[in-house]
Structures are given as C-alpha cells and as structure tokens.
C-alpha cells in the first residue's frame, strides 16, 4: 500500500512539474504564437478577401483565390519575379567569386590577419539604407563621382544610370556586392582555415600546379562553406527590398522592381490589404521552400563531412 501511494505520489509530482513546465513556457509560447504564427495565419486569411483600406464602401468580402488569380495574371508580378531572380543570380554569383578571392587573400597572409578580417567586415556593418544612399550618390547624374571619372577617362556619353533599364542594375548589384561579399568572405575564410596544410604540401611534392591545388583540394574541401554561403545569400537576395527601394525605387518604370518592393507598394502604398497579403503569402511560401531545401542540404552528412 505504502509503495502504491509513493508511486502515485511520484506520478502526481511528475504531472505537477510538467504542468508547471508548460505554465512557465506558456508566456514564451504565446509570444511566438502572437508575433509569428498568428500574423502568418492572419495574412493567409486576409489574402482570401477583397480588403482595401481606401474603399471602405466595398466592405471586406471573401473572394477565395481571386487575389492569387490576379497576381498570377499580372505582368508586373511576373516581371518582379524575373527581376528578383536576375538580381539573386547576379549578386550571389559575384559575391561568391569576390568573397572567395578575398578569403583566399586573407588566408594566405602571414601577419595582420586579425586586423584585416575585422576591417573587411566593416561594409557589412553599415546599414543597408546608408549603403544604398552612398552608392546612389556616386552614380547620380550629372556630377556623380562615377560619371565624372568616366568623362575624365574619355567616355563621351556615360550612361544615365538610373534612367536606363539595364544600366540601373549596375549600381544596385555593386552596392549589394560591396555590402555582403565580406560576409561571404568570412564564412569561406573559416572553411579555408580548417583545411589541412599537409594536403597542399603533399600536392606540391606530387608536382601539382597552383590551379590544380585550387580545383582539386581547395574547392572540394570548401564545398560545405560555399553551400552555406550560397544558401544564406540566395534566401536573402530573394527578399531584397531596402537597397533597391533606396537606390532606384524599382525604376526606371518598373525595370528593377523586385517582388518584395511590389508587395510593399500594393500593401503599404496602395493599402490593398487583400492583394498585398496574397503577394506576401507567395513570397513567404517561396522563401519557406528555399529554407526547407537549405535545411535538407545542410542536414546531410555529405555537407558536414567534406567530400574526399
């Protein structure tokens, strides 16, 4: 009998502790529900309505997938998706190349590596809006630094950067690369530093050229770090907003408008809550899928243990 009471008492104790545990976690859980899950569900619900803050007389009708149909049949939407993909592809590629070059340069330094590493991170620490403004200033016409230099160098008709649908990408991508290449470089530098130097010594003895060492040793062993950098930057680039908002506002016309900027314009400038929410849900879904792919890739053992 006594033992039974002890056991039930123990169970009760356990149950009480579990309940206390839940009670303690409840504030944190409710905050997460309140700020993350709630708004997402709300946005999905909102995206099924015709809800325009400017047109209260239309009410807030349930219209099913109408907003999504409008988005998918809207050429500005597809243009925006296209611009986002172009931006992501161009900026991430350049960032990886420049980042790798920087990382290898720093890695080969024998002295002052710490100082250079810190200095290298400075662009990354500057707020994006400030970066955008500074780069816009340099490409302003007339009188901007870039065109002044081009004219001095003998270029007769330098481009009006922000009035040209193709040239406008140059300052935008440069600003993004300038800001984030150092971040990539730091990630890759960490990857480089764990590569065993004896591999290079052995390769040298076997008579491998520098290029062979790079393609046969450095690149394969750096794969996990490269993948991490690639995934981080791609997800980030897909959500690009601030640098373009500040530099071109999506112009000329809508030639540099990414999907996040289009959503901003629908949701916060035109206050089309229903349609804007539908666009947000689309961005959310795509970013979520990208993140899932990333987690799967990064979770693999092949990623953690470099290929041989």
């Amino acid at each position: 009998m006594r033992r039974v009471t002890e056991i039930t008492g123990g169970r009760q104790m356990q149950r009480t502790e579990a309940r206390l545990g839940w009670a303690m976690a409840l504030p944190a859980l409710s905050v997460i529900a309140l700020v993350a899950i709630g708004p997402i569900l709300w946005a999905i619900w909102e995206s099924l309505h015709l809800h325009d803050l400017r047109m209260p007389w239309l009410g807030r009708r349930f219209i099913g997938a109408q907003n999504y149909i409008e988005a998918f049949s809207d050429s500005r939407f597809w243009d925006a998706i296209g611009h986002t993909v172009v931006f992501a592809a161009a900026s991430v590629t350049i960032e990886l190349v420049v980042g790798l070059a920087l990382a290898m340069a720093v890695d080969s330094m024998t002295r002052g590596r710490g100082v250079v590493r810190t200095a290298m991170l400075l662009p990354w620490a500057v707020p994006t809006v400030v970066v955008g403004l500074v780069w816009r200033f340099m490409f302003e016409t007339p009188g901007g630094l870039v065109n002044t230099i081009l004219v001095r160098a003998g270029v007769t008709a330098p481009p009006i950067w922000f009035a040209d649908p193709v040239a406008a990408w140059v300052p935008v991508i440069l600003a993004d690369v300038w800001k984030t290449a150092p971040f990539v470089a730091i990630l890759l530098l960490a990857g480089l530093q764990v590569i065993d130097t004896s591999l290079y010594e052995a390769a040298q003895i076997d008579g491998a050229s520098s290029w062979q060492q790079f393609t046969r040793i450095t690149l394969p062993l750096l794969r996990p770090a490269l993948l991490v950098a690639l995934i981080f930057r791609t997800v980030d680039a897909f959500r690009v907003f601030d640098v373009i908002y500040v530099m071109t506002g999506g112009g000329p016309g809508t030639a540099t408008e990414p999907i996040a900027l289009y959503t901003f314009s629908a949701l916060l400038e035109n206050l089309r809550f229903g349609f804007g929410s539908a666009l947000s849900v689309i961005i959310f879904t795509v970013t979520f899928v990208l993140a899932l792919v990333a987690i799967r890739l990064m979770g693999r053992r092949a990623l953690l243990e470099p290929m041989s």
């Binding site: 009670a23 400017r54 047109m55 007389w57 649908p165 112009g251 000329p252 030639a255 314009s265 035109n270």
Partner: protein, 427 residues
C-alpha cells in the same frame, strides 16, 4: 502545487497592472481641445503655431493642439488613413493634399462642408472643383500651387508663344549662350512627373479622364504630348536625360546655377531663385504660363492644400470656425509672407500686400493660377497616378513606345475603376 499557485498569482498581478495602464491610456480627452494635423515643421510650423495661438485668444473656450505628421506627402497620407480607418476622433482638422479630398470623401472620413454654408465667391474655381466629390464640397482650399514656366530673361527676349517656339528658343539659348540645358522639368518616376505630363497633355488638348469619368489617356493627343516629351530628350536634345531621375530640387538647382534656359517648377522656387546669396540667376528670370500646342491651351497642374474636418470630430462647429479663421485674407497674407504660399482667393492678387509678401508680380501669378487644372478628381487618384507614373517613365526611358505605354496605362486605369465600382459612378 504551491509553486504553480504562486506563479499564477504573479501572472494575475502583472495582467491587472497592464489592464490599469491600458485603461488610463484610453481616458477621454477634454471636448474643448481641437487638434490640427498638417505640416508643422520649419517655417510652416512657426506660421501655424502663431495663427493657432491667436485663434485660441479669440476663442478662450477652445484650445488648439498641433498633431505632428510626417512632412513627406505619402507618409502623411498613410498615417491619415490609419487614423481615419480606426475612426479616431483626432485630429479634428486635417490639412489635405488637394488630390486626397475625393478619396477621403468617398470613404466617409471627412465631413461634407456644405452644412456650414461656406462663402465660396472668392476662391479660384479649379481649387473648389478639386475639393468636390459627388456634388458636395468636402474641403476648403488653403493655398494653391500651379506649374509655371521659368525663363531666363537675360538669354531670350520674350516667353515662348507656343511649344514650337519653346523648342526653338531653348535650342537658340543653348547654342548662343553656351547653356548646357534647354528645358528642365521633374522627370523621376513620382507624382511630379504626372503633373508635368498633365500640363503637356493640356497643351495638346488631351485629358486623363473625360468629363464623364471615362479613361481617355490613350487618345492621339495624349500620345502626341508624350511623344513630344520623349523627343525633347532624344531627338531635339533640349532636355537632358538626367531629368528622368530629377525631382523639384534637382531641377531648381540646375536652373539656379544658370544651366538651363527654361524650367518647369512650382511657385516655391521663385523666392529662392531671387536670393542672390545662393542663386546665379537672381533678377535674371521671369515666369510665364506653360505654352500650348495647336488644339490645346496653356495648362498648369493644380497643387496645394485644403482643410477638412474629420467625420468623427467631437466638435465640428469649432473645427469649422478654425478653418474659417485660417482662411481669412489677413491670415492667408501672413502665411504668404512667412511661408511663401499662394492664397486661393483671387481678389487678394489685386491688392498690393501680396506682391511684397511673395516677391512676384501678383497679376502674373494670378494669370498662371487661373490656367490651373485639377488632376483627375477621383477617390483612386493615388493608384491612378502610380499606373501613369510607370507608363510615362517607361516611355521616356525608351522601354516602350508612347502609344503602347499609354494604352497599357489606360487598360490598368479602367481595370482599377472597375474594381472599385467607380466606372459608372456619378461625379
């Protein structure tokens, strides 16, 4: 068990403390405090505080407070929408950009002012048209803006008679005086570009919406107007392609530094350009109406602000008294002197005081303001304008032919009006 109960009690205390703070925050304000929302920084802030204080002295039972709002028009607009959507009783009196009135009126957010029987004889007619919706007046004009052609009196002898004359004079001025630009205007993708286009559209006799509210921005006249704007840049070479990234201030700086024969700008630039300390063209320029082409008439885009009353205001009579006070000629004259804004009352342009206050020939100013036309009077103006901005900028940066761009814009506008069930709405 014991710990759990303690924990619950702590939570209960915390919740009641929060509830207390919330209840305190919601307590009702004194009904005799009026709030005014509008531009409240710099010279405008000084002027409005001066006048509100004086109003408070005349009406000791009313105290007026300024509710600060962002200075950028789009940010202020967004904030107003949030307040009015939430049916907030503050602010009582709102300074509206002239293109917002129909939007706020259609939404039922501002009061129909006809109930106060306002005296409307002494206002420029266009400023009243812009503040009407569905046949009722919803806001009273406070000050007006109108697009003007600034021209270099030391370079050319007379203002242009028509658009061809303008092109010739601009080219002559560039060639004979070594001035880099013939004509500068606001060409960035923003509201300013729409006002520039509206003026050229009027010059060619076109419209954005016709008098029954139908979209006619894809007419041949509109195509001609936009084609001319594009050709000025790429064929005639009198307008630098850089204007496609310029807003008011970049345009003013170019003209102020003596780099342009003509400039399209708002009246605010006048007194700044006359300031010899910063301007190279002080005393060497004049203003004129923007010239017309064959089949059109000189047109100025109408800008400016109006005053309206929040539909949920606790004391609309006091709010109207404040508006009436701010619109008294003496107050408007003071505002002209302090801020350089143009009064909406034509009779004031016949008196001497205004010329001194604005440093401009009042008769000249009045002639330009009388040519002013409102932008489309519709509740969806902001979206309409955005569609047009994109189309205009695409055509001017040669991503699309003017006709195709305007056809796209017209299609987008028709869809917009249909969506908001305004295509058949009475105007």
């Amino acid at each position: 068990m014991f710990v759990l109960r303690e924990f619950c009690r702590a939570c209960a205390y915390a919740l009641s403390a929060i509830a207390f703070v919330v209840i305190l925050g919601c307590s009702r304000r004194d009904p005799h405090v009026l709030t005014f929302a509008g531009s409240a920084v710099g010279k405008e802030g000084d002027a409005i505080r001066l006048q509100l204080d004086r109003f408070g002295k005349i009406h000791p039972d009313i105290r007026v407070e300024v509710q600060p709002t962002p200075d950028a028009a789009n940010h202020r607009h967004q904030l107003y929408l949030q307040w009015l959507n939430a049916r907030a009783a503050d602010p009582d009196v709102l300074q509206l950009d002239v293109v917002w009135t129909p939007e706020f009126a259609a939404a039922g957010w501002i009061l129909d002012l006809d109930r106060f029987h306002p005296q409307l004889e002494d206002f420029f007619p266009a400023t009243l048209t812009a503040n009407h919706w569905n046949g009722a007046l919803y806001a009273l004009p406070w000050f007006v803006d109108a697009g003007m052609l600034y021209w270099r009196a030391d370079v050319i002898a007379r203002p242009p008679a028509d658009v061809d004359d303008l092109r010739r004079l601009a080219a002559d001025g560039m060639r004979d005086h070594g001035i880099p630009f013939g004509f500068v205007w606001q060409g960035a993708r923003y509201e300013g570009l729409v006002t520039v286009f509206l003026e050229q559209l009027g010059a060619f006799g076109g419209e954005i919406l016709d008098d029954r509210g139908r979209v006619v921005v894809d007419s041949d006249r509109a195509v001609d107007a936009l084609t001319q704007m594009r050709d000025w840049i790429y064929t005639d070479g009198i307008v630098p392609a850089s204007v496609l990234t310029w807003q008011e201030e970049q345009v003013r700086l170019a003209f102020q530094n003596g780099q342009a024969v003509f400039m399209r700008n708002w009246p605010y630039a006048y007194s700044l350009l006359q300031d010899a300390a910063q301007s190279r063209v002080a005393g060497r320029f004049r203003v004129a109406p923007i010239p017309a082409a064959k089949g059109g008439s000189p047109t100025a885009a109408l800008g400016g602000s109006a005053l309206a009353i929040n539909a949920n205001s606790g004391d609309s009579a006091a709010a109207y008294a404040l508006i009436e006070y701010l619109l008294e000629p003496s107050q408007l004259l003071e505002r002209a002197r302090l801020v350089g804004e143009y009064p909406p009352r034509p009779t004031m342009y016949a008196t001497g005081g205004l010329g001194d206050a604005l440093q401009i020939d009042p008769a000249e100013a009045r002639r330009i303001i009388e040519d002013a036309v409102p932008r489309p009077v519709t509740p969806v103006y902001s979206e309409l304008s955005q569609i047009l901005q994109i189309a205009l900028h695409r055509a001017l940066t040669r991503q699309q032919e003017p006709r195709a761009a305007l056809q796209d814009a017209a299609a987008g506008m028709r869809k917009l009006l249909e969506r908001f069930e305004l295509d058949a709405a009475p105007r």
